[in-house]
Symmetry: C2
Subunit: 626 residues, 2 copies
Amino acid sequence: MTAEHGSTGLIGPDSDLDQVFELAQQLRVDSVRASTAAGSGHPTSSMSAADLMAVLMARHLRYDWQQPTNSTGDHLIFSKGHASPLLYSMFLAAGAIDEQELLTTYRRNGARLQGHPTPVLPWVDVATGSLGQGIAYGVGIALTGRDLEKQPYRVWVLCGDSEMAEGSVWETLDKAGRHQLANFIAIIDVNRLGQCGPTELGWDTDAYARRAEAFGCRALLIDGHDIEAIDQALATAADGQAPTVIVARTVKGQGVAEIADAEGWHGKALPDDLAERAIGELGGVRHLTVRGPRPPADAHPREPMGDVTIELPHFEAGDKVATRVAFGKALVALGARADIVVLDAEVGNSTHAEDFGKVHPERYFQTYIAEQQMIASAVAMAVRGYRPYAATFAAFLTRAHDFIRMAAISQVTLALSGSHSGVEIGADGPSQMGVEDLAMMRAVHGSTVLYPSDATSAAALTVAMADLEGISYLRTTRGAYPVLYTAVETFPIGGSKTLRATDQDQVTLIGAGVTLHECLLAADQLASDNISARVIDLYSVKPVDADTLARAARDTHALVIVEDHHPEGGLGEAVLSALAERRQAPAIAHLAVRNLPVSGTPTELLDAAGISHPHIARTARDLIAR
Amino acid sequence: MTAEHGSTGLIGPDSDLDQVFELAQQLRVDSVRASTAAGSGHPTSSMSAADLMAVLMARHLRYDWQQPTNSTGDHLIFSKGHASPLLYSMFLAAGAIDEQELLTTYRRNGARLQGHPTPVLPWVDVATGSLGQGIAYGVGIALTGRDLEKQPYRVWVLCGDSEMAEGSVWETLDKAGRHQLANFIAIIDVNRLGQCGPTELGWDTDAYARRAEAFGCRALLIDGHDIEAIDQALATAADGQAPTVIVARTVKGQGVAEIADAEGWHGKALPDDLAERAIGELGGVRHLTVRGPRPPADAHPREPMGDVTIELPHFEAGDKVATRVAFGKALVALGARADIVVLDAEVGNSTHAEDFGKVHPERYFQTYIAEQQMIASAVAMAVRGYRPYAATFAAFLTRAHDFIRMAAISQVTLALSGSHSGVEIGADGPSQMGVEDLAMMRAVHGSTVLYPSDATSAAALTVAMADLEGISYLRTTRGAYPVLYTAVETFPIGGSKTLRATDQDQVTLIGAGVTLHECLLAADQLASDNISARVIDLYSVKPVDADTLARAARDTHALVIVEDHHPEGGLGEAVLSALAERRQAPAIAHLAVRNLPVSGTPTELLDAAGISHPHIARTARDLIAR
């Protein structure tokens, strides 16, 4: 479908701008070719940004395409992940991939050149495609580079104009401004057209600039198709003086008259005939190769991190200690590892993340009440080899659900903690109660979900999270409850603890967190009626200890599962899934928060929700009597 | 603990400002009394805003406390919901509640004066307490008042300064500016101190003002303890010229020297002795009563809405129609009801919400890519008596999870639709695939979760959602699949459809959406091996048809559940919960998306996830053979 063009050769920092324009045209042509061959994709959204990216890669992006893990190399993030044809065309121009891969695998089954970029590609830091997120990871990486790694790299983020409507973008630019991240540069490709038609602000580039400035960033306004203006703006942006937002007025589908600035072409590959005309108008296929600026030398080679022994905090059995307190103490202990970093969303005195901050202020990051940016920065630090712990109320982690979902696609290792779970929090009322967090976190791909009942297990699990793959979640409780375990106990992921067991058990009570303590009280009550109850601490909700559950089902034929969470997606359904796999079908009662909670004392609210020990004991008796 | 003070009498628009100051002191005193009596709460966060609220309620808030449903009355939203002592003290001053209720029930078990305000109180529109949300509902109500109800009310929102770090606030102010909502006034109580210490911007009130202006709002800077300045600013804000953000510099704990502007007093009730000293310093207990301005007359009494017959769209059995297309057509049909409104987050051409917009542009609201504000505006419209439908990709509803959670606490009726569910979407890749939405939506309190497989049922369920209580969710599919049902079929909530059944069924295949079609193909394949398979369309995921499932379990002893969703919290666990309740324990195989999906064709990706018909047939055979 294409006529070959003679344009070949090397493009680099010393190439004249006419040559850089040829590179831009090549990126446009290759974006058209890749998406038309795939039969889907976003060529017009790629074409608007081609000039910006050509100048960047040829003259400003200090990057070693052969060694993408280079510690000092710049970072490039496509926050407008749908412009993947452009990104992958840049990979081709850099010699990182070949033409065949671009033209025959893009968007195809199992290919690494997916519809939106993910880190299965070595040149991609984070998965994007949910808008308003790439820029947030970019600020996180810039912060990591300057304050943790102390490396000279810059972070360049290409944003779409539509995504500037996402609140997360302004959480992000607020942080860029606050920390004065002079190594951060966002380039907004203001092509005026979104998926459904004109964007909210159209070509009002001044409005974008005013907003960026109001949030503490430097704004540069340019014509995004003026190669010289782009070059000057990128040079200014890289001067190390201030976080910079380049607001580039561009044309969607630039370079091809039939589709330029036209509605109805978002996310559509050009049909073959139009693609052929477009390639012709763009000057045909080129084979230019880019050798852009090299990364600087590494002034701060990283020392080995993480190879130290952690002294677990010690708790006396029977003492009343909140699991959130144990979380804080464990973080402090973990601080001996230089790769541990902790992030807060201004509730660190509640989650006890703050305890870490008092000992290791240089590795403690206050994001204020901006949960999306907290997760984004945590993902960024994980991408750069740190082991982040991010904590807020369990209820408020829902604010960052889309970021957590995307973090799983980025395949990072990340530890989250949600405090103030369940109705147990008491008087503050339902807005502060996390009663859907287990469902949210269990459904995250590859996640580990932990819910300790006492301080000893909470501390041990907190420490274990540092070396888990993927996203792990620790659910903590507000109130103080008796320490159940001594330091000799271990808490393997996927395990459980059987706290009461005899050969005569007639029922098994399964709890975690506050409900385990209620189960123990209920077992005492049942014992006084001569009913022997097994009690299982299901601290590992995902993966779950299917063996122990199946054995309890076989032994006692009756299970009462109790959780301070809505009935859907939490502890109860985790148990049911495990039993279904093992083909066990005991009599089951599932106590969970089915009402809309109000204010009250913890005891009153546990009782109102039907998950307190009197309810458990009564339910167990009924189940046995059935 | 308190000495009575002689100050009684009526405060109203004509009272002099000294009297209004006395009211402010009363609000402070009562905030202290209420929280100290409760033993918890946020008195200092209340005291900073007391002057602002005293002037507002005495002289500017046009409100009938005896008739809070008055159609023209102003709205007051505490976005800083933790300042509930102040809000409830205002209720007392207005005579809406009595002193005993304030002093003996606040934060107590089951009381309507909860830790954070919820609409169980007739003077509260929406639940707040998750920061950065009240302001978003406020903009939604202002939009509703001006553009739908055409009523003269104004919306006043009291914000904390900490919450201005939430991205959602800027989605909101962007909309206030874009729509030039001159009936919207936000008052930021800049008391400089958050939960953990100084806020990000401290007393840099200029920064807040610059940001508000950059987003298209008018900003007014005042000393939040200067009664006259407050009065002038509120008068200006209410002039109907522009959306206004009043940036008020205040002191946390204002009026009590021991705690004023002091760290460590966030969210703490004053101990008895300090409370007594504080009340003394504040001039003692007062019993002033407020009669503020009255609402204007109703120029547009609302006509009855919703009492029309909806003509369902018709689909021919066997035709291939996407459920998202049927959703759009059903919305158009529903448009005959004047209370139906539709909201989009700039993907209306994908979700087909746009079809409604083409016919009823005056009831179609484009929020651009700002899912949090889309849900907030939908909640606001629901609060005002409309029946909103809000739609985006299923994956991107996660962005608004915290708003959806809070909407349940606000107990509104709200219909959501998520399109592009599952790996079925194909080449766009995992960032665009909703594979955790069922878990999220099932765990919402009181929710209804629907997942139709064909156009006829999708249309019928879409229409049914208009009259469901609470939050309902319709999951739609990208691709077109055969219409299974004719117009004579009905689809009750909590029902299911059994598409294949004989007395000889050896296995039951359970699917919904795309997997139902795969189940039908698998049943054909099994039939050719002389295995008779029952097939159930489980279109109602919550509530689920436990009777039919239990019968299938009894009849066939083997179930294969297939879902295009992660294994946690979705269709499979809904079935397991239903069977556990009915004490049925068939052999169960649960096919779900357990891999991290990539790009590919729908067929390839269903197959890679192990949820395509060959996998289903093979699993069924294995299950029978066990």
